[in-house]
Subunit: 263 residues, 2 copies
């Protein structure tokens, strides 16, 4: 069992309840990473499902849970022949923290009838750059779990040179030896710095709502994350992330609606 | 009150219950249109919310409700200063039909910090084409509620000439005099023929999961719907729809995951 497997473990208490322990290694300046929290919830949902894969996940971030014990509450809504529908709630201290609707099914990896190519070309891995290590006092423990190599212009905001449009692109893998799987993808699709930083905004950008689709099981190796956005207005922005595996297949699609930080 | 307003009316019974009557005018060959059903649910959610607009809606289509009486069950999850979170369930004959999570907030129409342009140019309205009128026995009552003018190549599948990629683009407005509003947009984002028809697939393509975001309040006039998809594989396809208003603003974004039809 890898460290990530352990950090996302969900232990069955009964048909509708799983015990989890939220890991302090996935913190971004205070709150826990939203993708990590989904990975934890999805462990419980898939364990309770007759199917193998979390094909769609829609989540509302009601509150910001803290590291430590929590529970995933499961409600089976319907199980059909090809998919099952589940409501899952992450609960801490008896208070709902994240509410989600998850569709599970089993993907078989059949050849696609149609597959679009990536919307952006990435520079080769060795031309991409790391983020500077976070200062210990910033409480960014998440960074140590992952390796990311950025398409340099998309982190120009770090030195005061935002590209002027919402974007963020990087290669991603876990720091420990860990092949990507649906749970790693749940983390990956929410691991980029907010795309709105490239559009000139700053500050904590809380996710309100996130939906992601697992489209195929990822091949071993780096995941390519292509992040973009269409509109920053009225204090809201959309962040669209596509995840491509090392075999060049689209493995996940994600869109979140988030609030623009106050600076 | 317009016919659409009436068809989507939700009458408050108590804090958690609204009575609705699903209108036989929104049928597509048997089932009711998924966007129409969301519009009905959103009437109840917004009525019960301290905020004015349904900013994000994620829905799971568990079953296919039929025209006639139904209820919307509301559960308030959290109300904060800028947004409220609600679970809404469409129930018919005591059985849950659609499960949803909705975020309400109030949009103010501030000038955007960043706005991308449409991903596709549309031909002028008078160069776009109507779908042939459905045969009465096809039970497509939905078509009479809306006027749509299609970018011709995206309905080439009708005469056996699919474009080879998932796409569907059209101008949209209600057939009766009715300015677009968030409820009309809920219908609009699910009103295009499935994009997968253009990729060569046929048959009923049931939506499993749909998430849409209201990004701005639409100006009066035609709505432009730009539909596309990234991957058709393993019996699943994604359908992405952007809605643009007559003032050239992105007013809604939608993605659904649906099953490829069998026939």
């Amino acid at each position: 069992m890898t460290k990530f497997d352990e950090a996302t473990q969900a232990i069955r208490v009964d048909e509708t309840t799983y015990d989890v322990c939220l890991d302090p290694g996935y913190v971004i300046g205070g709150p826990l990473n939203g993708g990590y929290l989904l990975a934890v919830m999805l462990r419980a949902v898939v364990d309770a499902s007759p199917f193998e894969h979390p094909v769609t996940t829609s989540a509302q971030y009601l509150r910001a849970p803290v590291p430590g014990p929590a529970r995933v509450r499961i409600e089976q809504l319907k199980a059909g022949r090809t998919a099952a529908f589940t409501r899952a709630t992450l609960v801490q201290d008896d208070v709902a923290q994240i509410e989600s609707l998850v569709t599970t099914a089993t993907l078989h990896g059949a050849d696609p009838l149609y597959a679009a190519g990536p919307a952006h070309a990435m520079p080769p891995l060795d031309e991409c750059v790391k983020l500077p290590d976070p200062k210990p006092e910033s409480n960014m423990t998440l960074n140590a779990q992952m390796e990311m190599r950025f398409d340099a212009p998309t982190i120009g905001w770090l030195r005061g040179e935002p590209s002027g449009r919402p974007e963020s692109r990087a290669y991603f893998r876990m720091a420990e030896p860990q092949d990507p799987d649906p749970y790693v993808l749940a983390l990956a699709v929410d691991s980029l710095p907010p795309v709105v930083f490239s559009a000139g905004a700053r500050g904590w950008a809380p996710t309100v709502d996130l939906t992601w689709h697992l489209r195929a099981l990822p091949a071993p190796g780096w995941i390519t994350l292509l992040g973009s956005g269409r509109l920053v207005a009225d204090g809201w922005f959309d962040e669209e992330v596509e995840a491509w595996d090392s075999a060049g297949r689209l493995v996940a699609q994600c869109r979140q609606l988030a609030r623009v930080g106050r600076g």
